[in-house]
């Protein structure tokens, strides 16, 4: 509308003068009064000028920081207790923004730009050539035993040499050009160029860092030249602003202080604790609902029946809570039942052993396969040790409970609170170096960290095998016992759950946001761009542009999966250039963390076949890995995605009320618990603390949907 008002008189006149239409169109593109973005050059990549360095207050990157290269509208995961430096290379920014300025550019400017682009493009191929060189070495080692691989290797050598040749030629040409422009004659320039290039060659092959630096240096020289020829760059302004956007969608977005750019108030630093030993109100509410729900349920006669009931419960909750558009999801949840049920076959040790001996030859014949077997055996040994220790721990806990009368006539939630309090106390005592640790080992968080690491090591070897020796995985996927294969069964189960998630996308945003939270999907952010805060400043791009933001000093509560969105906007006078972008930073809890999960579990007392539905509370310890820095120096995004399913997602303790002993009023079950597939499946073994005989029981719990209100007392099951 603004645009139309600006040009209405002109438009009327031009309607009859088609010859001038083109002029009108061109004028429209550069109309400085409309406030609309000027036409951008597709090739402009101003985000290349921005590098973030995340400084978490603990963990892998606390000392050296984690470097993240900005990309257009990209999302990154950063630790919730970090601050981020934003480093902006003014020259790169100027060069890229100059691409958005049309008209009046000299041929020299155009040539310089083309040279920069060529250098950039070639420099980008360094990462690829590094990878191909590594691959070539690996193939060469294998080819010594497999002569049929030589033709493949020859092609790889050709491709590597060709790219490397281009890299050298492009760089040498630019260095020589520059030296000649600086006044050296051809021969002197060649000699000087060789001197500059020599450090690239090393006894190990090449110095990639020197090579990269030389490219950056030449790009920087060209940028200097370019900026001298573009005085209008000095008239460009930048505006950077940021907001904390809550994942829940509740409450206003919180503006964030960015030094130089605004005067948003900062608050005193706050730290989000990752090991809280605390039951969130939401989970307590859910537990209470589950307690009522299980009153309406009857026990299942066997494991399959119990599994079915769990899945039906999830499906019905979904069906009841949301409208018809969820029907496919309901059916998907039901279908997931079959897949998950198949997994129970592999909970029987004899079945796993039979399968392992069937694939034994395949595995034993390769070092990676042998590593896989060893790792499995280590894990098994460790788990057996855990089991044995669990029994001892339960005895210790029982005697502790008797001595202190701690768990006498208590409820599971009180029992959980006691356990959490003791864990917190133990944790603080460990931190303080208190040697008087007389509590059962089960209450040492370090015990669970050890268990988690052991299982994780096995899974790492499995992943490594899939990547390094796909043939082994492919072979053993065809080995079955009784027509079953654990890898296929496990993959099917994950796919079934993923299918549920897929069915839940493409629905109303507010519901998706809510479901997304449950399933760990990325938050739905407001589609509308936020305007800058009131104290926003614009800076000319030729000055120091670096800034930073500190998550710990944002005024207002921040939670996991909240997002910090940083906007970049550019102006020439009052006209906005079409070169802006934003970056989203999802707040994550990296490193050790704990969660309390309320669920409906099915518990099976030793010596019986029935499964009783019971409301339970689980404390689960998990290690969320820090994002890795790849060989090419690029960081993993660190964003939590559903597709990044954690097969094994934690270990911990579950409390639940049991009703196994007719002679006891209150019975508390205390179970050692493992969690799988993003904490949606919990399995555990434990003891009835009050039972005199047969105290052992095991339980499992499937909670695809675990938000208060989803699984309610009115959800009934078929007996």
């Amino acid at each position: 509308m603004k645009l139309m008002l600006c040009f209405r008189p002109v438009l009327r006149r031009l309607y009859k003068q088609k010859a001038l239409f083109i002029s009108f169109f061109l004028a429209l593109l550069t109309c400085p009064f409309t406030g609309i973005p000027l036409l951008a050059d597709e090739g402009a990549e101003p985000w290349m000028a921005v590098i973030y360095t995340e400084w978490p207050d603990s963990g892998d990157y606390a000392k050296e920081g984690r470097t993240i290269k900005a990309e257009r509208n990209a999302r990154f995961g950063i630790d919730i207790n970090s601050h981020v430096d934003v480093t902006i290379n003014g020259k790169t920014l100027g060069r890229e923004l100059s691409k958005t300025l049309h008209g009046g550019l000299s041929p020299k400017v155009k040539t310089l730009r083309e040279r920069v682009d060529q250098l950039k493009q070639t420099a980008d191929s360094i990462n690829e050539v590094m990878k191909s060189l590594k691959e070539l070495f690996s193939l060469w080692n294998k080819a010594e035993q497999n002569p049929e691989m030589w033709p493949i290797i020859r092609e790889k050598i050709r491709s590597f040499s060709n790219t490397m040749n281009t890299i050298f030629e492009t760089l040498e040409k630019e260095i020589t050009e520059r030296l000649k422009a600086q006044g050296l004659d051809e021969t002197a320039a060649q000699q000087e160029k060789d001197k500059i290039m020599f450090p690239v060659l090393t006894n190990e092959g090449y110095s990639w860092s020197v090579l990269t630096q030389l490219f950056q240096q030449e790009i920087s020289f060209l940028d200097d030249e370019l900026i001298k020829l573009l005085p209008e760059i000095e008239k460009l302004d930048i505006e950077i602003y940021a907001y904390l956007i809550r994942e829940s969608g509740n409450g206003a977005q919180v503006p964030i202080h960015l030094p130089l750019y605004n005067e948003v108030k900062e608050c005193l630093p706050t730290r989000v604790e990752k090991l809280t030993f605390h039951i969130p109100e939401e989970q307590m509410q859910l537990y209470e609902q589950h307690t009522e729900t299980v009153q309406t349920m009857t026990e299942a006669k066997n494991l399959a029946g119990a599994l079915r009931t769990q899945l039906e419960l999830n499906a019905r909750a979904l069906e009841k809570s949301i409208n018809d558009s969820f029907k496919p999801a309901v059916s998907a949840v039901n279908n997931a039942g079959d897949s998950i049920e198949n997994l129970t076959y592999w909970t029987v040790d004899d079945n796993i052993e039979a399968w392992i001996s069937a694939v034994g030859d395949d595995l034993k014949n390769s070092p990676q396969g042998q590593k896989l077997i060893n790792s499995y055996r280590n894990m098994k040994t460790s788990l057996i040790a855990t089991y044995n220790e669990a029994v001892i721990n339960i005895d210790l806990l029982k005697s502790y409970a008797k001595q202190q009368q701690t768990f006498a006539s208590t409820t599971p939630e009180s029992a959980m609170m006691i356990i959490l309090r003791e864990m917190r106390r133990t944790s603080y005592a460990i931190k303080a170096g208190d040697p008087t640790m007389l509590l059962p080992r089960a209450l040492h968080p370090a015990t669970w960290m050890e268990q988690f690491d052991t299982i994780q090591k096995f899974l790492d070897v499995v992943n490594e095998t899939e990547q390094q020796a796909p043939a082994i995985v492919s072979n053993i996927e065809h080995v079955t016992t009784e027509g079953r294969n654990p890898i296929t069964d496990a993959k099917n189960a994950v796919n079934a759950i993923r299918f549920v998630q897929n069915q839940l996308t493409g629905i109303e945003p507010e519901v998706r946001s809510w479901i997304g939270k449950v399933l760990g999907l990325p938050p739905v952010l407001a589609a509308v761009d936020l305007e800058p805060p009131a104290t926003q400043k614009r800076l000319t791009i030729t000055r120091d542009l670096n800034t930073s933001f500190d998550l710990k000093r944002i005024c207002g509560e921040r939670k996991e999966l909240d997002t910090v969105r940083v906007y970049y906007r550019f102006f020439k006078g009052s006209g906005q250039l079409n070169a802006g972008w934003f970056n989203d930073f999802q707040l994550r809890l990296f490193g050790w963390r704990d969660d309390i999960i309320a669920g409906i579990s099915f518990a099976n007392q030793s010596g019986t076949s029935t499964f009783k539905p019971i409301a339970s509370l689980s404390w689960i310890l998990n290690k969320n890995r820090w994002p890795k820095i790849q060989e090419d120096g690029k960081s993993d995004s660190g964003v939590g995605e559903w597709k990044a399913i954690e097969w094994f997602s934690g270990a911990g303790i579950t409390t639940m009320p049991l009703d196994f002993d007719q002679n006891q009023d209150a019975e508390i079950g205390f179970a050692f618990t493992l969690s799988f597939i993003n904490k949606k499946i919990l399995v555990g073994y434990g003891a009835n603390l009050q039972a005199e005989n047969d105290p052992g029981f095991w339980f499992f719990s499937i909670n695809l949907l675990d938000t208060p209100g989803m699984i309610s007392p009115s959800s009934k099951r078929n007996p």
Partner: protein
Amino acid sequence: MRILDVRDGNKDDIEKGQAILLAEIAHPSKTVMIIRGDGPEIAQFADAAAGRSDPFPWREVVWVKNNSIFKDGQEKRLFPKGNDKSCAVILDLDDTPLVWLSADSNPLQIEKAFLKAGSNQP
């Protein structure tokens, strides 16, 4: 780097040298540099060539110090007219002589010669 020399016209040395040269050239996936001649300048060049070959298993340098190791006509085929003053030749992956170098070549020129030979299409 393989250094091939002959002790006082020793036939055995010549035969062994020929066999080694042949085997290196026949390798299915190597770019082979053949250096000929002897002397301080050649030794310096050979040293630089080894520096650019050693890091990569698909590059090989064979220094033929004594030209009696070359079979009949072999030296002429490797160093034909126009390149007959060169001290080294690099064969591509198909064993075709492709790049010739003089003894004053620096490591950068040697590196680029290896890359050129490595990237040559049949």
